[in-house]
C-alpha cells in the first residue's frame, strides 16, 4: 500500500493502526486507529503525544466510548434494553466462549457493506492476507498531508512525525473529538512535535 512513500517506522505504525481497527471490530481504517498506534510509538512523536496525556489506553477508551467496539458496539442499546436484553451481558457471554480473533472476524463480516461511508470511497488499506478496510473520514487527507510535511522538510519518505502531523491536522472523523476530550488539540500537539525535530535546513 504505502511502502515506498513511508519509512519503515511509519509503515510499522500504519500496520499497527490497521491491526487496531481489526481488533476493535471496526469495518474501516480511521484516523483514530492511527492515533492509537502513534500514541504507542517509540519515536519522539509518540513520546510527545503521551506527554500531553494522549496515551494508548486513553485513546482506546475514547474510541470505544465514541464508536463502540466489536460485534455489538453499534447496536441500539436502549432499544434492546427495552426488551430486556443487556448488550453487555450478550457481549460478556460471547467473549467467554469465543476468542478475540473470531469475534473480530465476525464483527468485520457483519459490516461487510459499510454504511457510514459512500460507496465511491474505495480507497483504503489491504493487509498481507488480503483483508481490505476502506479509509475512514479524513485519512486520505492525512496521508497526503504526511507526504507534504515530509516534502517540506526535504525528506524522501514520510516518517512517523510526518504521519503524526498529518493525522493531527485532520478535521473530520473522531480524532478532533478524542483530542478535545483528552484536553488537547491537533494544533497544540503538532507544534509540540515540530519542536522536537530539527528544522528543515
Amino acid at each position: 500500500m504505502t511502502e515506498h512513500i513511508m519509512t519503515r517506522d511509519a509503515g510499522a505504525v500504519s500496520i499497527r493502526a490497521f491491526e487496531h481497527a481489526v481488533r476493535l471490530g471496526h469495518p474501516y481504517l480511521g484516523g483514530e486507529h492511527y492515533l492509537l498506534a502513534l500514541a504507542a510509538a517509540g519515536q519522539p512523536a509518540g513520546a510527545v503525544l503521551r506527554e500531553h496525556g494522549v496515551t494508548p489506553e486513553r485513546v482506546e477508551a475514547e474510541i470505544v466510548r465514541l464508536s463502540g467496539a466489536g460485534l455489538f458496539g453499534d447496536l441500539d442499546r436502549d432499544a434492546l434494553a427495552a426488551v430486556g436484553i443487556d448488550v453487555d451481558a450478550v457481549r460478556a457471554a460471547t467473549e467467554a466462549s469465543f476468542n478475540r480473533a473470531t469475534l473480530a472476524r465476525a464483527a468485520r463480516d457483519s459490516h461487510r457493506e459499510p454504511r457510514r461511508f459512500s460507496p465511491r470511497r474505495r480507497s483504503g488499506a489491504t493487509r498481507g492476507d488480503g483483508v481490505f478496510l476502506p479509509h475512514g473520514p479524513g485519512v486520505n487527507q492525512a496521508l497526503v498531508a504526511a507526504r507534504r510535511e515530509a516534502g517540506a522538510r526535504h525528506a524522501a519518505q514520510a516518517d512517523v512525525e510526518h504521519l503524526a502531523l498529518g493525522i493531527l491536522a485532520v478535521s473530520e472523523g473522531l480524532v478532533p473529538s478524542i483530542l478535545s476530550r483528552l484536553g488537547t488539540s491537533g494544533p497544540t500537539l503538532g507544534t509540540a512535535i515540530m519542536d522536537c525535530y530539527p528544522p528543515a535546513s
Binding site: 430486556g84 451481558a89 460471547t94
Partner: protein
C-alpha cells in the same frame, strides 16, 4: 438477562416507536450472532444442511447468505 415473560411484555409495548425500534435492534443482534455461530459451525466442520436445520431455514438460504463469506464448501 431478564426472564422471557418480561421480554414479551416489553416487546408488546403499545408505543410503536419503542416497539419497532426494539424489533429492529433484536433483528440486528440476531444477525450478528448468526454470523458468529455459522462461522464457528463451519470451522467445526458442520455441513450447510446441519446448520440450516438448526436455524430453521433451507440449505440454499443459509448457503446464499453465508457461503461466500465463509468459503463455500458444499
Amino acid at each position: 438477562m431478564e426472564p422471557v415473560r418480561d421480554i414479551a411484555e416489553d416487546a408488546a409495548s403499545t408505543d410503536p416507536d419503542t416497539g419497532l425500534r426494539s424489533v429492529a435492534a433484536l433483528r440486528a443482534l440476531a444477525e450478528r450472532l448468526e454470523i458468529l455461530q455459522v462461522d464457528n459451525a463451519r470451522r467445526l466442520g458442520w455441513s450447510w444442511q446441519q446448520i440450516a436445520e438448526r436455524l430453521g431455514v433451507t440449505k440454499q438460504t443459509v448457503h446464499r447468505k453465508h457461503g461466500k463469506r465463509t468459503g463455500g464448501r458444499p
